[in-house]
């Protein structure tokens, strides 16, 4: 049975979408309230293979470059018919519109650094209360090496998320699209001065800032 593959949500836009979906299918904007769902009709939902994930990423970047406000969907998000698509979006329209406003004309930048020497892992076995647990989590997630880097780009940052997995700490910044090169130069300069080794990548669609979807 053909499925509606949902790729992203966007603020209402005019014009035809020239970008193609993961399976090479043409994409359409379907109006649901004051939001556009960018969808493609496919025979089967694409599998999350290496090749398809890369295609999805390229397609999302191309869509994002042509759209002022875009929230990427999860890979594989599907609806069987228009009623299901409508139900997916309609109940959350207000929060989705707020999220679209938050990412409008903004780009995600990703900064990664190795954080294994940063914070010794506290002994959790002695954690007794919920408050203590939350404090110990906060200490674990802290990455002091990021502080001077964050300060160097604060003027452009409109949203921030930070996380640490294994030894790699990642910081996601939401910045104006027009400030990408200045942001990159500033954070690289701060890293060089502080002797911090990092990787900056972007600009990307706001994957890390699309929690409501």
């Amino acid at each position: 049975m053909p499925e509606i593959c949902v790729y992203a949500l966007a603020s209402r836009r005019a014009g035809r979408i020239t970008v193609r979906g993961v399976a090479g299918e043409p994409l359409h904007a379907i109006h649901v309230g004051r939001i556009d769902a960018i969808v493609g009709r496919v025979r089967a939902i694409p599998q999350p293979t290496d090749q398809n994930l890369r295609r999805f990423d390229r397609m999302m970047s191309a869509l994002w470059r042509r759209t002022p406000a875009l929230l990427p969907a999860r890979f594989g998000t599907a609806a069987q018919d228009m009623a299901e698509l409508d139900a997916m979006i309609r109940g959350r329209e207000d929060s989705l519109r707020r999220s679209l406003d938050a990412v409008r004309n903004r780009a995600q930048m990703t900064v990664r650094l190795i954080a294994h020497q940063e914070v010794p892992r506290p002994a959790r076995a002695h954690t007794q209360t919920g408050t203590e647990y939350m404090r110990s989590r906060q200490r674990e997630q802290a990455v002091p090496a990021f502080d001077p880097l964050r300060a160097s780009v604060r003027r452009w940052v409109r949203g921030e998320r930070m996380e640490k997995r294994a030894d790699v700490a990642s910081i996601y910044h939401l910045i104006p699209r027009g400030s990408v090169e200045r942001y990159r130069a500033a954070i690289e300069r701060a890293a060089h001065e502080g002797g911090v080794r990092l990787i900056v990548s972007g600009p990307w669609p706001p994957y890390a800032f699309a929690d409501t979807w």
Partner: protein, 95 residues
């Protein structure tokens, strides 16, 4: 087109798994996987139970694969730590 740049510390740390990942030539794959985990990946499947060529039950399943800390943001990614923390919380509630 997104660009990637590296800034090297003169006092490079000893090689770790993390360092090898960051040093990989294919950092674009790292970004692709990171984006997928940030949002999660949905796997869907359908099952139809039939008897004597009569469809009786139709089941549509959606499985979400995502980094644990994205779905449970206050949880530790280490299972043992997670279990210890939950036990501590239970003890604290009982006390």
């Amino acid at each position: 087109m997104p660009r990637r740049t590296r800034t090297r510390n003169r006092e490079l740390e000893t090689e770790t798994v993390a360092a090898r990942i960051l040093d990989s030539k294919d950092t674009s794959l790292l970004d692709v996987v990171d984006h997928a985990l940030n949002k999660g990946v949905v796997l869907t499947g359908e099952v139809t139970l039939a008897l004597a060529q009569v469809d009786l039950v139709y089941v549509r399943l959606a499985l979400l694969l995502a980094a644990a800390d994205r779905v449970l943001p206050n949880e530790d990614s280490n299972y043992l730590e997670r279990r210890r923390a939950r036990r501590a919380l239970r003890r604290a509630r009982r006390a």
